[in-house]
Symmetry: C2
Subunit: 192 residues, 2 copies
DNA sequence: CCTACCGATCGGTAGG
DNA sequence: CCTACCGATCGGTAGG
C-alpha cells in the first residue's frame, strides 16, 4: 500500500521528484518509518519501479493471454495498453513512458534498470509480432523489430499527448496508427 | 550564455530538477546574481524553455526553409530533427520531448506553456504535410493530422531510445518509420 | 552583480 | 514503527 501510493506520486513527479517527506505525508507513516522499510531513497525508487511493473503486467500483459496466440493476442495487448492509459491507472499516464523520459539521460543504477526493462518490454512486443507472423496473420517477411518500434512509438506518443491535453483524440490517433501499421503488415490475399 | 548552460542542465535533470544553486555553480555567478536576472525559479524555467525553442528553430526549422515548399522541405525538416538529436545539441536529447514528458501531468503555468508549444509544433508538422499534399507529392486525400501524429511519434520514440541506449540504431528505426509513413501517403502513379 | 542570511525541506541517522 | 535530530541544499530576500 505504501508502494502503491509511491507509484502514483512518482508517475506525476517522477522517481527523482518523489521525496520521502511527501510519501510520509501521503501515507501517514513517519519518515523514519519509511526508512525502516526501504533503507534509502534509491532502494525506494527501485522498489517503486518494480511495483509499477507488476501493475502493468496485471493491467496490460496478463489479460491478453486469454486470447489465442497470434494477431488477436497482439491486438488485445495493445488495446489493454490504450485502456490502461485512458483509465489513468497511474495519474501521470503510463508509468514507464514517463520513467523512460525522466532517466534516459541520467546515469546511475536506475538508468541501468530502466534500460534493461525497456529492452525487455520491446522484446515482448516483438515477440507478440513474431507470433502473429508464425500464425500467418502477419507477413512473415515483415521486419518484426521495426513493427515493434512503430507500435511502441504510436502508443507512447498517444500516452504523452493524452496526459498533456486530457483529450481522448490522442488515443484515437494512436489506435489508428496501430491499425495502419498492422494493416500494412498483413499478407496479400492470394488470388485464386 | 546563462540560459544556454541552463538549457543543458534542464535537458538532463528537467526544468524542475534544475536548481538555482547548481546553475550558479555552473556559470560562476552567485545565486543572488541569478535572482537579479530572473526574479524567480519559475521565470527562469520559462526563459529556459523559450531559449531552447530558439535553438530548435535554428537547428531544425530554419535550415529546411532553403528547400522548396513541399515534400523536400518536409523531409529536410525531419532529417534536421534526427541530426539535432544525434549530435546531442542538448545533452539529454530533444529538449521538448523530455519537457513534454516531465510536465504533462503537472498542472501550472509551465504546463500551459508546454501544451501551447506542443500544439504549435504539431500544427507546424501538419502544415508541412499539407504543403506536400498541395504540391501533389503526397496524396491529397490522406489525413494530414494523422500523418503528423505518426511522424512525431517516430521521431519522439527515436529520441528516447537513442538517449537511453546511446545506440544510433534507434535513429535508423525512426528514419525507416518515416519512410514507411511517407511512402504510404504517396499518390499511386497513374497508368498511362 | 555581491555577501550574508531566512525558513523550509531534503536524505538520512541515533536511540528507542 | 516512533521522536528528535543532523548537515546540506532548496527558493528567496535584505541591503548594498
Amino acid at each position: 500500500m505504501i508502494l502503491e501510493a509511491a507509484t502514483k506520486l512518482a508517475s506525476i513527479e517522477g522517481v527523482h521528484g518523489l521525496t520521502i517527506g511527501r510519501l510520509a505525508e501521503e501515507t501517514g507513516i513517519s519518515k523514519s518509518g519509511l526508512y525502516a522499510h526501504f533503507g534509502s531513497k534509491e532502494q525506494l525508487q527501485l522498489e517503486v519501479i518494480q511495483a509499477a511493473g507488476a501493475i502493468v503486467e496485471r493491467e496490460v500483459v496478463l489479460p491478453a493471454l486469454e486470447e489465442p496466440e497470434g494477431l488477436s493476442r497482439l491486438e488485445a495487448t495493445i488495446a489493454n495498453f490504450f485502456s490502461y492509459v485512458e483509465r489513468l491507472v497511474f495519474p501521470g499516464g503510463c508509468f514507464f513512458s514517463s520513467l523512460l523520459a525522466e532517466v534516459d539521460a541520467r546515469p546511475g543504477p536506475i538508468h541501468e534498470v530502466v534500460a534493461a526493462g525497456q529492452k525487455q518490454a520491446s522484446a515482448e512486443w516483438v515477440g507478440l509480432v513474431r507470433e502473429a507472423q508464425a500464425s500467418g496473420e502477419l507477413n512473415r517477411k515483415a521486419d518484426a523489430d521495426q513493427i515493434g518500434f512503430e507500435l511502441e512509438a504510436a502508443m507512447t506518443q498517444s500516452n504523452y499527448l493524452y496526459v498533456l491535453y486530457g483529450d481522448p483524440v490522442a488515443l484515437e490517433r494512436g489506435r489508428q496508427a496501430v491499425r495502419r501499421i498492422l494493416g500494412a503488415a498483413k499478407p496479400k490475399p492470394k488470388k485464386r
